[in-house]
């Protein structure tokens, strides 16, 4: 919303310094986006008169003018417009001046003295467009004869004014502040001044009765729920012409293009009050109404599906039955509150008009505006809510101005469809509650003065209850608290002294999940890995490349782009994409991880919302030759780095190709396709007797590697942190370590391939297990000769006794026990 301060000054006193006014607006009304004096644009533009005119010797299309800005010296200017005559007044840019229409744009155009076909031109005479005040750019703008020579153009055009732009969002619920009068009221109140609205704003000042000629029309409000009020009146004898300078200037300062006196008056009232006013050409309304041409008809109704309107922006819009329109008896002539139609617009030949000042349901209007993609000054103001009570006074002021400026005459009775009259609200304030909630200490006189300054009316006071009548132009005041806000704003937030709340001491701690995530973050970042945050959005293409099924994904109805249309069903997918990126950036060996949420369409929780379980996803990628063998083991190494450090040690691994598909959790199943089935495993642990699946670990599927051009050595895991929390125990067992020396031997076990390393280890451990015996077992080597079906697994077994020094013969006995046990599973030493 743009606020020209000189216009505001017509309604209230303002501080001397512009900066102070801006500060008041920012601290009392809403965020100020910017402010500047428009005259800066016109710094080197002055009014000149033409003294001589001659033809250009070498160019038919150019004329040479001698102009003067002081009636003394002549300045030579060459122009393409040959229609100017001696004595004409023009706006002239001196050399070094910037063309106003290019001011503050990317390419400001500076005027110089230039040779034009051999004749020097010192500066330029401006067109409307170059002055940024109208559309014409072919002709130099001729100013009225009374324009004073030498005066700066902005002074003459009343553009020497500071315009403050206030962020619209801050005023979302304040339709009244989309008018200059509303903002002036707030400025007055904030300075402690009494504001009084102009008389015409408070009530109709004239009798709305036809004088002589009668333009016959009626209105038919068929959509009362969507149109709470519709006021209209006809005027005749109109002379459409350019508006006077003061009116054009007022619009220009509000960034609205002057069009002609009728349209300008309607727009002027809108920028003053926030209430849009529209004018239809009466004769065109009739002409297009071929059915009943005896009198005019204005029908307020919803559109018929498929009905079309040629709007003022030049586009044709197809409407549906949710769009409210203003129609004659046949066709829509306006989309209610949004835009008029070209067929009934005011032009130079217009003599009779219908003026409309109406109120429309803002929800429906907003829907139509968004659906049709039309946002206008009027629709913006209507969606912020306007007061039906204001329709009539503003219509009647429009009539006054049109009578005065366009020679118009009232020529119909007032049509006013106002089915449910708005009542004046009264709200009682408990001043104690107000003071408590705001942290203030106002007495009732102060409160009444403060609110009456912005036109509340105190109607009753009883003890701590003070009753106010709500101003009719306010649509945002429903409850006591809404008034508190007015008090806090107008009084000033800076006068509230901050006080920390008094509270009982209570211990708080982070939720377990957050603590777990922080632990994991520390473990992995201290293990050379980098934590990533990626989007929850993925593309169809990425899902296909990672062998994932797009049908299980939540799909966005309004994605930013095709690349961001699906919600990821697992974190891994996003990390796979980033793996490629980092390889391309020349990082040869890295581990990345993300702690995040993923969603699956049909996997809902008890709130009937997509289930959200925190997951840890990890990828390792290497293209050096520092690692060999299946990449599975590297991801397993990192998985155990995490799980062991958070005390989950009892892990079992089941090769992906061997798992029981039915008992596998859904989210693991969906991930299986992104992993290599022969070199990946489902990892689980046991709590009591229940197996709890933690996740999946292993080599990235070879097709996926190929699709994404990943390194051959790429592996990953994804685990469910809810399951991790479920199995995490908090008590650690203390085992006193032996004071006696260990005996260590490396033993090679010839193990058939069908027996796993885990089985071997378990068997060996069981064989060693005995009272007072402690052992450490480390795997030294696993060797398999090509073609053999046995592996040689070498374990370094260190054994000690906690009560005495272990002797070689004791170790020998243990070896024998091991030998016996492993023989049962076809292993030999």
């Amino acid at each position: 919303m743009k606020l020209p301060l000189n216009i505001a000054k017509q309604y209230t006193k303002l501080p001397k310094e512009v900066k102070t006014t801006v500060e008041i607006l920012a601290s009392r009304v809403g965020e100020v986006e910017s402010y500047s004096n428009i005259s800066e644009k016109y710094k080197n533009v002055v009014i000149a008169t033409i003294k001589q005119k001659s033809d250009h010797p070498d160019a038919d299309k150019l004329a040479i003018y001698q102009i003067s800005v002081d009636n003394d010296k002549n300045i030579q200017v060459v122009a393409g417009d040959k229609t100017l005559e001696v004595g004409d007044k023009v706006a002239y840019i001196k050399p070094k001046g910037i063309v106003p229409s290019t001011y503050n744009t990317e390419k400001p155009f500076t005027i110089d003295s230039v040779e034009m076909k051999g004749v020097t031109s010192n500066g330029m005479m401006c067109s409307e467009k170059e002055l940024n005040i109208g559309p014409n750019h072919e002709k130099v703008l001729k100013l009225p004869q009374d324009a004073p020579i030498g005066e700066n153009f902005s002074d003459y055009y009343e553009l020497n004014d500071t315009v403050v732009e206030i962020e619209n969002k801050a005023l979302t619920n304040r339709g009244d502040l989309f008018g200059i009068i509303g903002l002036a009221r707030e400025l007055a109140g904030s300075q402690g001044l009494q504001f009084t609205s102009p008389n015409w704003y408070k009530e109709t000042q004239i009798e709305l009765q036809p004088s002589e000629t009668c333009l016959n029309f009626d209105i038919d409000n068929q959509a009362k729920a969507l149109c709470p009020r519709y006021c209209a009146i006809a005027m005749s004898n109109i002379q459409v012409e350019d508006s006077p300078t003061w009116l054009k200037s007022a619009l220009l300062r509000s960034d609205i293009k002057p069009i002609n006196n009728i349209v300008d008056i309607t727009n002027y009232l809108m920028i003053l009050t926030g209430q849009p006013v529209h004018a239809f050409d009466f004769d065109k309304v009739m002409k297009h109404d071929t059915k009943q041409a005896d009198m005019g008809h204005i029908v307020i109704r919803t559109a018929k599906t498929g009905e079309k309107i040629h709007a003022l922006d030049g586009n044709i819009y197809e409407l549906n039955d949710r769009n409210l329109v203003i129609a004659n008896s046949q066709h829509p002539i306006a989309i209610a509150g949004i835009t008029g139609g070209i067929d009934t617009q005011i032009d130079k030949n217009t003599t009779n008009i219908i003026l409309e000042s109406a109120n429309f349901d803002r929800y429906n209007l907003r829907h139509s505006s968004m659906e049709l993609g039309i946002i206008t000054e009027a629709s913006t103001r209507y969606t912020k809510s306007q007061s039906p009570s204001m329709c009539l006074p503003i219509l009647s002021h429009a009539v006054e101005l049109i009578t005065e400026l366009c020679n118009g005459q009232i020529s119909s009775t007032l049509m006013d469809s106002y089915p449910v009259k708005e009542e004046v609200d009264q709200i009682s304030i408990n001043i104690d509650k107000l003071n408590t909630k705001l942290g203030l200490n106002l007495n009732s006189e102060e409160l009444i003065k403060l609110l009456e300054n912005i036109e509340y009316k105190n109607t009753d006071s009883k003890d701590k209850y003070i009753t106010f009548q709500i101003p009719v132009f306010r649509q945002d005041i429903e409850i006591e608290e809404d008034i508190y806000e007015d008090v806090a704003r107008i009084y000033g937030y800076e006068k509230i002294i901050p006080v920390l709340p008094e509270k009982a001491i209570t211990a708080t701690s982070l939720p377990k999940m957050m603590t777990l995530k922080n632990n994991i973050r520390n473990i992995l970042s201290n293990s050379g890995c980098n934590e990533l945050l990626t989007y929850n959005f993925v593309s169809m293409d990425l899902l296909k490349k990672t062998n994932q099924d797009p049908n299980i994904c939540l799909k966005l109805k309004n994605p930013l782009s095709k690349e961001l249309e699906l919600m990821r069903p697992s974190i891994l997918i996003s990390l796979l994409e980033k793996t490629l990126l980092n390889t391309q950036e020349g990082i040869n060996s890295f581990g990345i991880f993300e702690l995040g949420l993923s969603h699956q369409k049909d996997n809902l929780d008890k709130e009937e919302l997509p289930l959200e379980e925190w997951k840890l996803s990890f990828i390792f990628s290497d293209n050096t030759d520092k690692l060999s063998g299946s990449p599975f083991f590297q991801s397993k190494r990192y998985l155990e780095q995490v799980l062991h450090k958070i005390d989950i040690k009892n892990l079992s691994y089941e090769l992906a190709t061997d798992i029981d598909y039915n008992s596998t959790p859904v989210w693991v199943k969906t991930l299986l396709n992104s992993f290599e089935s022969n070199s990946s495993a489902v990892v689980s642990t046991v709590v009591g007797k229940t197996k709890v699946v933690l996740g999946i670990v292993g080599e990235i599927n070879n097709e996926v590697k190929h699709n994404l051009s990943l390194n051959d050595y790429s592996c990953a895991f994804e685990i469910n942190l809810e399951s991790v929390l479920q199995v995490k125990s908090h008590s650690k067992k203390y085992v006193e370590s032996s004071k006696f020396p260990y005996i260590t031997q490396d033993i090679c076990f010839v193990t058939p391939t069908k027996v796993t390393y885990a089985e071997l280890l378990l068997t060996v451990k069981k064989a060693i297990e005995k009272e007072n015996i402690q052992s450490n077992i480390e795997c030294i080597d696993i060797y398999m000769k090509e073609g053999n079906d046995t592996r040689n697994i070498t374990l370094r077994i260190s054994i000690t006794n906690t009560t005495k020094t272990l002797k070689d013969k004791d170790y020998q006995k243990i070896r024998e026990r091991i030998s016996k046990k492993i023989a049962k599973i076809d292993i030999s030493m």
Binding site: G439, E494, I496, N530, F537, L655, H706, Y757, M784
Partner: protein, 339 residues
């Protein structure tokens, strides 16, 4: 015209017998037979050039096809079966076994900041609850006093899923749940990921991190709100500053305001961080609207409360001098290692 038929016969034979590498070497390497013939084109008489070119190109495409096929064939080959219970693979040399990288890793800069917030807020007696990432209309809008079709919904450029779920545009989506979860006093901070359907640039992202706070008790005031937020910011930014409260509009608070602080980097003189204004707008805040309390079954006549919400990305960028918001989620290790 040089005799190509001999070469053609040889190519067809080799396609069957040679493997990809051998083929590549024989025909397409620097000294390869086809490479040589291509170089030879310039010596072919003009009238035969096109014919010669076509024949030799056909040969090249035959070789290329075979090479491409072999690529996919080898790539798509399944890895062989391993023993997942072992600590490393068979026949892996000692120095090439799985190991932990000897590097300095990093936790994400945003998470480092969130942890700092959490520490401060828990020390101030707040509980922490994480935000959902997919929610419904009721929690995101209706329970927060945004009736259906309310224009204030336009302030939040919201993503919707085809099934009618909503991607939270603010962490306030958790407010109703938290207010319902226990009796006042309620002091909770909600960090979480939120989304805005807006085009991205150096300063805008569709995915953001936000931190919300709610405080409900008897006799809670605007003065309490200002003091609480100030207390937190002073601890977080480790400096003193002036504050400025500006009016704003949010449907779920009344009164509602914008909380700004004097720029701690230039002391109000104006610098690039504060856009030469001397002030930094940090967050929206306000007294919780009575309708919001009511929808969580809290009696607004008995209790009052305040809420605030701020963007973590922006604070993080300000504090760490990060010029581009998009760096934060681009996933480049080069960037992440610097923090």
């Amino acid at each position: 015209m040089p005799n190509l038929s001999k070469l053609e016969t040889q190519v067809h034979k080799d396609l069957k017998s040679l493997n990809a590498q051998e083929l590549k070497k024989r025909y397409l390497s620097k000294e390869g037979l086809l490479t040589k013939e291509f170089a030879n084109i310039k010596n072919v008489p003009t009238n035969q050039k096109s014919k010669f070119g076509k024949r030799i190109n056909k040969l090249k495409s035959l070789v290329d096809e075979k090479l491409n096929n072999s690529k996919t064939e080898t790539k798509i080959k399944k890895s062989s079966r391993i023993d997942p219970t072992a600590p490393f693979d068979c026949n892996t040399q000692t120095d090439k076994r799985p190991h932990i990288l000897d590097l300095q890793g990093s936790s994400h800069i945003l998470m480092q900041e969130v942890n700092r917030f959490n520490e401060i807020f828990t020390s101030m007696g707040f509980d922490i609850v994480e935000c959902r990432q997919v929610d419904d209309d009721y929690h995101m809008f209706e329970s927060l006093n945004f009736p259906k079709g309310h224009p204030a919904r336009d302030m939040f450029d919201t993503f919707w899923t085809e099934d009618g779920f909503v991607l939270p545009a603010h962490t306030s989506t958790m407010q109703n749940r938290i207010l319902k979860s226990k009796n006042p006093p309620i002091r909770t901070v909600i960090p979480g990921r939120v989304y805005r359907n807006e085009a991205t640039d150096a300063g805008h992202e569709h995915t953001l991190y936000q931190c919300e706070g709610v405080y409900v008790d008897k006799n809670v005031s605007v003065a309490n709100m200002i003091a609480t937020i100030k207390e937190f910011l002073e601890a977080y930014l480790e400096s003193k500053f002036d504050i400025k409260i500006q009016p704003a509009y949010f449907p779920f608070t009344e009164p509602d305001c914008e909380f700004a602080i004097s720029c701690p980097f230039c002391n109000k003189k104006g610098c690039s961080t504060c856009g030469y204004t001397g002030w930094i707008e940090l967050m929206g805040c306000g007294m919780i609207h009575p309708n919001v309390l009511k929808s969580a079954n809290i009696d607004p006549d008995k209790y009052s409360g305040f809420a605030w919400g701020f963007g973590v990305d922006r604070l993080t960028m300000i504090k760490n001098n990060i010029p581009e918001i998009r760096h934060l989620r681009a996933g480049s290790i080069k960037f992440l290692r610097d923090y």
